[in-house]
Structures are given as C-alpha cells and as structure tokens.
Assembly symmetry: C2
Homo-oligomer: 363 residues x 2
C-alpha cells in the first residue's frame, strides 16, 4: 500500500475515517429530523464521495453549475438539483437535454430567468421542475420573502415549468461570531422558506419540497415544522472556518494539505510550497486570521502568493528546509476546485485516489 511519504507535495489528503464519520453523522441528523438530505456536491466534486452520501441515505445531490450537473449525470446520479439561477437559453437547452436522463430540478429567482427556462422546456417538449429561491437574510440571490408569492405564482403559471419547490441558504451564518446568531439563522432559514411555501400553497401552487441548507446552521438541526429537505455541503470535509464557527472540532476536519518547507530565509518565517494555487485566498471566518493552520503547531500561514505559503513562525516553533507539514485549509470547497485529484488516506496509508471530476466546472 503506498504511503503519503511517497507523494509529491503539495498534495491534498482526505482522512477517510473522518470523511465516513462526517457523511454518516449528517445522514443520521437528517433522518432523525425526518427530512430528506440532498448534499451540495460542490465541496468534494467527486462522484465516489457523492455515492457515499447516496449510500448513507441522500435522496440526490445539489450542484451549482450546469456543467457540474452534467458531470454527475454522466457518473450515473439519478436525481440532481441545480441550486443556481440559470438565465441563458443555451444553458437552459443543456439542462433540458439533461432532464431526459435524470430527475432534474433547477433554481429560479427571477421572472426573466424563469421565462428562459420555460421557453427551453417548451422547445424540448418537456416540463421542467423548478424551485424558487427565497432570500433568508444572506442578500446574495433569492427573491425578497415579501415577493415570494407574487414571483412564484407568475413562475408557476409559465407553460413548461412546474414549480413544486422552494429553497434558501442562510450563508450569513458564515459571518457570525456568536453561536446564538447561527441558531437564529437556522430558525430564520426555516421560518422564511416555510412561510413562502405556505403562501404559495394558499395561492394554489402545489409546493412539495421546502429546502434549507448550510453546514453552519445544520448544527442546530432540521427539526422545523414544514421543512422537508436539507442541502448542507461542506460537512463532508469540514475545515478551519467550520471549526472557527463552532460547527466542528479540528479533529473532525477530513481535508489537509501535505506541504514541504522550501525556504527558511528569515528566522521569523518559513515558506511552504503551497500558496494560493493550492489553498486559495479565502479568509478565515468569522474573523480573518491567516490562510491556514499548520497541524500540530500554533503557527499559521500569514500570507500566500501563488506558489508560496508564508508561515509566521511562532516563537519556539522551528521549521527546517525539506520538512513536511500538514496544513488545515480555511475553506475546503475551494481547495477541491484547485486540484485534479485528492488522496484518500488512513493514517499515512493511501487507500484510494479520488479524481475531482467536477473540478473547474464554471459554466
């Protein structure tokens, strides 16, 4: 069995024991709350890990981009949700081609976007299931809750579309320093999307699926009356940000980056062969504090250039040229997107290599 000591660095390691535990834990949480689990696959972008989630009880996967859905459909996944507003005719046509092969649902948050999807559905002679995104406080995409019934009713009336779902994402939870605020986000996320579903049903739109989802809010469970589905993503790997938010302990984080010290040209710094091309520049949340933690040390990466990770060396820490270290990344999802493959390990043994099949799917 090959060992991580045989790997060139930088290399992305996935602790399989932790990954498996994370997959099982979230599946149990959803089952106990009586909601369907539809994990967002953006975190791993790996079909094999998607199948682990399905075997643990997921009903299907969530994705952002059309091209990601195409990759997962090619790998046999039967039920996909594109949780992103698709507004261009060519992408809508691609989605209609996809919907011949998989059970598909697509996000909408505007009439203009819905009209594009409807036209493609009519062109293809199919009906497309769509889900209305409602803003539960993140203020990124999603209709204002007060407009949910009016926009949803107009979407539902479009020939070619079937509006049977509403969804939201409380991304604001990533910016909370106080767990009480995340608990409130968890409640808001549910309350707002359930209210939208009720309003739409009263207006005659037969909403079946009421979907919430973010890993930080999932810590407070899914047991809200009216919620039927959850879409957390990051939970498979977890990361330094989730630990900072209180979602998990460091010991639950499954992803680390094996890196080599390439230069120690000043006594207060060491340089790793892992810069922003390996770790990305995502800041630690809720409070910025460097770009990754050196495992087993209090030193952290204070700056990244593309190929250089600058370690601000804590007094007492010593780094030597050629030495290997492990870095806990701030944000696991973006690391996945930077690497063609990641290594599944138990201890130092490499048990499997995962191709990151949906890496780089931007469109």
């Amino acid at each position: 069995m090959p060992s991580i000591h045989d790997l060139e660095t930088p290399a992305v390691l996935i602790d399989l024991d932790r990954l498996e535990a994370n997959v099982v834990r979230m599946a149990a949480r959803a089952r106990e709350a009586g909601v369907a689990l539809r994990p967002h696959a953006k975190t791993h972008k790996v079909p094999e890990i998607g199948w682990m989630q399905m075997r643990a009880g997921a009903v299907g996967l969530s994705l952002a981009k059309t091209s990601e859905a195409e990759v997962f459909a090619r790998h046999g996944f039967p039920d996909l949700f594109v949780a992103y507003p698709v507004v261009s005719p060519s992408k809508a046509d691609r989605l209609m081609a996809l919907s011949r092969r998989v059970r598909l649902c697509v996000g909408v948050d505007s009439i203009e976007g819905a009209e594009v999807l409807a036209a493609a559905a009519v062109r293809s002679g199919q009906t497309l299931r769509v889900s209305l995104k409602v803003d539960s406080g993140f203020h990124r995409v999603g209709v204002d809750p007060k407009d949910a019934v009016s926009v949803g009713s107009r979407v539902a009336a479009l020939k070619g579309l079937s509006l049977t779902s509403v969804f939201t994402h409380a991304g604001q939870a990533y910016h909370r320093a106080d767990p009480k605020d995340i608990e409130r986000d968890n409640e808001d996320e549910a309350k707002i999307v359930v209210a939208a579903a009720l309003g739409l049903r009263q207006a005659g739109v037969p909403i079946e699926t009421v979907s919430v989802g973010s890993t930080p809010t999932s810590r407070f469970g899914f047991a809200h009356k009216g919620v039927t589905e959850a879409r957390p993503g990051n939970y498979v790997y977890l990361d330094r940000t989730q630990a900072g938010l209180g979602t998990c302990s460091f010991d639950e984080c499954a992803m680390s980056i094996l890196a080599t010290v390439v230069s120690v040209s000043g006594s207060d710094r060491a340089v790793l062969d892992s810069g922003s091309k390996t770790l990305a520049l995502d800041m630690l949340r809720p409070k910025p504090d460097g770009y990754g933690l050196i495992v087993g040390s209090t030193s952290r990466l204070s700056a990244l250039s593309e190929e250089h990770g600058i370690v601000a060396v804590d007094p007492g820490d010593v780094f030597k040229v050629g030495e290997r270290v492990r870095v806990l990344p701030n944000h696991a999802c973006v690391v996945s997107n930077l690497h063609d493959r990641v290594y599944g390990v138990r201890g130092d043994r490499i048990e499997t290599v995962f191709e990151v099949a949906a890496r780089g799917c931007v469109d």
Copy 2:
C-alpha cells in the same frame, strides 16, 4: 468564424491585438537595454503564447514548479529556468530527467536545497546549472544579500552543481502606491543582484547570468550595468492591479472575463455567474478595492463567493438579468490557473482557443 456571443459564460477572453502588442513591447524593451528576456510563463501557462514570446526574441522561459517545466518541455521548449527552490529528492530526480532533454537551470536559496539537487545530479551522472536567489527586499524567499557570497560559494563547491547565475524578484513593487517607490525597487533589484554577482566572481564563482524581473519594475527598464536577463511575466496579459500600479493603461489589458448577470434581487446589487472559482480572491493592489471592474462601467465586484460575483451597482448603472458584461480581473495569472481554456479574440470574433496546458501544476 465563431463569435463570443456563442460562448457559454463565464469564459476567459484574451484580446489578441493587445497580447501581441504586449509581447512585442517587452521584447523591444529588453533588446534596447541589451538584456536577454526570459518571461515567466506562469501568467499564461499556454505553450502557444510561450512560442509567441520566443518568436519575439525570448531566450527561454521561466517557470515556478517542476510540473510546469515538464509541461513546457513536452511542448518542445528548449531552455527553461525553474525559478523556485526545489528541496525534495524526488523532484530533483524529475529535474535531472528533464535536463537530459532541455537546457535547464534551477533556483536555490539554501544549502539544504542545493545538497538535494547536487545528490540527484551525481546520481544521474550530470551537472545541473543552478541560480542563487537573492532577496532584494521582498522578504519571501532568497538569501539575505549579505549571505550571498558565503552561501553561493558553498553551493558552487558542491559536486554535481554549476552555479553560474544569480536572480531576484522585487515583488515588493506590488505594494507601492507611489511610482517613485517602484522606480527605487527597480534600482534596488538590479543593484543587489549585481553586487551579489560581483562578490561571487571575486570569490572565484564564474557568474554569467544576472537576472531581475517583475512586470511593475520593468516599466523603468533594464538598463542597469551588470544585469544580463529579465524575467517579467504578467506583461503578456496585464490586469487591473498593473493598471492601478501605473504599469499600463486599462486599454492594454488583454484578459477579460465574459460573464452573465444571473440575479438582480436588490436595487443596489447585481450578481454575475463569475465568483472566486472564475476570478480568484486576489485583492487589488496597491490598495484593495473589490475583486474586478466591470468594463465600460464604474461599478465593481464588491464580493465574491465561489459561483457568485456581487456587483455593487453604482447609482445610474443598470444591470438586467441575462445581460452579458466583461470583467477586468484584479490578477490575470491566477485566472489562468482556474480555467482549462481561454479564448483568443479580435473584437467579438473568436480566432483561436488556447488550452491552458500548465494549469493546476502545483508540484
């Protein structure tokens, strides 16, 4: 001829007129100064663009990682410089394999790293050309100038290595608000590395190549006595940061991202389908100001999540769902690393597609 209107978004566009002008301009600047040009290919990672640089007179290319050099060697480039400290035996062996096929030189900034390279050279029965990196004020990697002669002499004495070059990179220029400071960096860069070369020659080490290089400092030319080579990289594309530093005008920037407005859910914001997976989170330098500029508008990207670019809409600007815009990125090099291909365009016509052959080469 296909048009950019046929492309799915996001898509990376390279304005070929500007690219060609940028390649020719830097080549002329080097020629006039009487220095060899060895562009850093990290900016484009595209063999065809490397060949454009060679045809314009470059003597070879610079690269950071061993795997990048392997890609460019596979594409026939005869003369490569790995401008990065290589410190692991397995990479050193890969470099020795490469040096059978191309004229190779490799950076060193420590005795420990040099010993690893020397051992690999002896194992392979070859002599490896190495270049000593000297810190000219960036304080990232590179030996302190006062240690250049002592470290260089020890490196030169190692069996298997031939130290015939010194190099530096004044990356601190990226943080300067005042052009006068960049002009001083340009002088320091030359002065420090020339002094190291003279010191080493006096110590009996036959330094031939004295290499400087950064795009911001290159604006002030290479006409320093003793400098023999320059390694700018970003100049082929340029970007919003270079414009901010005064290196170029916006009209010289060759790279833009074609993006679509996917949501306008608030009157003060619009959301593009281009987030950090497309543009990266590199801050504008020398002064942070969002994550990219909308071409033909004063509005800028105020925040990015992975698949969402949040436009802070200036009063008077209007963005409509489905509308396409072009984004001028903060940092071109990192955009290259996020995309499998980029489109070479003249006006709206797509003239060629460049595969980003050395994308994702982290090791």
